[in-house]
Amino acid sequence: MTPDIFLFWLLTIVTLGGGLAVILMTNPIYSALALVFTMVGIASFFITLGAYFIAGVQLIVYAGAVMVLFVMVLMLFDLKTEIAAFTRGLFTGALKIFSVGVMGGLIVGAIMMSAGSLDENIAKVNPEIEASMSPDAPTKLLGQALFSRHIFGFEALGVLLLVIAVGTVALSRSRGGTHAKQ
C-alpha cells in the first residue's frame, strides 16, 4: 500500500464528493466553493499523473481566477437559497437522472471493455524525462512541443482572448449596467 496509491483513492473520494456537492447544494455559493474543492482535487490528480506544470496552471487559472469570478458574481447578486433549485416535475426529473445514469454506465462499460487494447510495451516512465537530470524536464518537453508544432494554435488563442476581452466589455456596457444611463 505505497503512499501514492493511498493518495489516489483519497483524491478520488475528495474529487467525486466535491463534484456531487456542486450539484446537490441548493445554495449556489456552497456549490461554488465545492467546485473550488474539486478543482484543487483535479490539480492533485494532475500531479499524480506527472503533468506538474498543468497542475500549476489548473491551480492558477481555474481554482484561482475562474472560480473567483463565479464566487464574485454570486456574491454581487446575492441569490438566496432558491426554493426551486431543481427542475419541477418528478417524472421529468427521474427521466433525466435515468438518462445520465445510462450514459455514465455506457462510458464506464466502454472503458472496462477496452481494458487491454492499449499496447503494454510503452515504457512505464517517459524516456526523455528520465534521461535529463534537470527537475524541469516535463515542463521543458511541454514548452518545446507547444512552440515547435503548435505555434498556430497558440497565436489563434491569443486572438481569441483579445476577442473575448472586447466582447465582455461591450456586453457589460449594454443597457443593463447599474451605472448605464437607463
Binding site: 450539484i23 463565479f70 458574481v73 427542475t87 455514465g104 524516456p127 494554435g153
Partner: protein, 108 residues
C-alpha cells in the same frame, strides 16, 4: 471482483472511470439545476473531466500532446465561463432573478 489487484496498481482505467463519473455528474447538474450560474459551473466540471482524461492518456502513452490539448481546453473553458457569466449578469439586471426560463425573452 474486489480482489486486491484492482485496488493496488492504479492503471489508465482508474483515471478514466473517475473522469467518466465526474462527466456524468456535470451532465446531471446541467440537466437538473435551474440557476444559470450553477449550470455554467456544471459545464466547467464536465470540461475538467475531459482534461483529466486527456492527461491520463498523455501519461500512459508518453505523449505530451495531451497536455497541450488541455492547455487549449482550459483557455476556451475560461473564455466560455467569462462570456456566459456576463450574459447571466445582464439577465439578472433585467429580471432581478437568475433563472433558465428567462433566456427566451432575449432579443436578437
Amino acid at each position: 471482483m474486489l480482489n486486491s489487484e484492482v485496488f493496488l496498481d492504479i492503471g489508465l482505467n482508474h483515471y478514466l472511470i473517475v473522469a467518466a463519473l465526474l462527466f456524468s455528474m456535470g451532465m446531471a447538474g446541467v440537466l437538473l439545476r435551474r440557476n444559470v450560474i450553477v449550470i455554467l459551473m456544471s459545464i466547467e466540471l464536465m470540461l475538467n473531466a475531459v482534461n483529466l482524461t486527456l492527461i491520463a492518456f498523455g501519461k500512459f502513452t508518453n505523449n505530451v500532446d495531451g497536455q497541450i490539448m488541455v492547455f487549449f481546453v482550459m483557455t476556451i473553458a475560461a473564455a466560455e465561463a467569462a462570456v456566459g457569466l456576463s450574459i447571466a449578469v445582464t439577465i439578472f439586471k433585467k429580471f432581478r432573478e437568475v433563472n433558465i426560463r428567462f433566456f427566451e425573452h432575449l432579443k436578437g
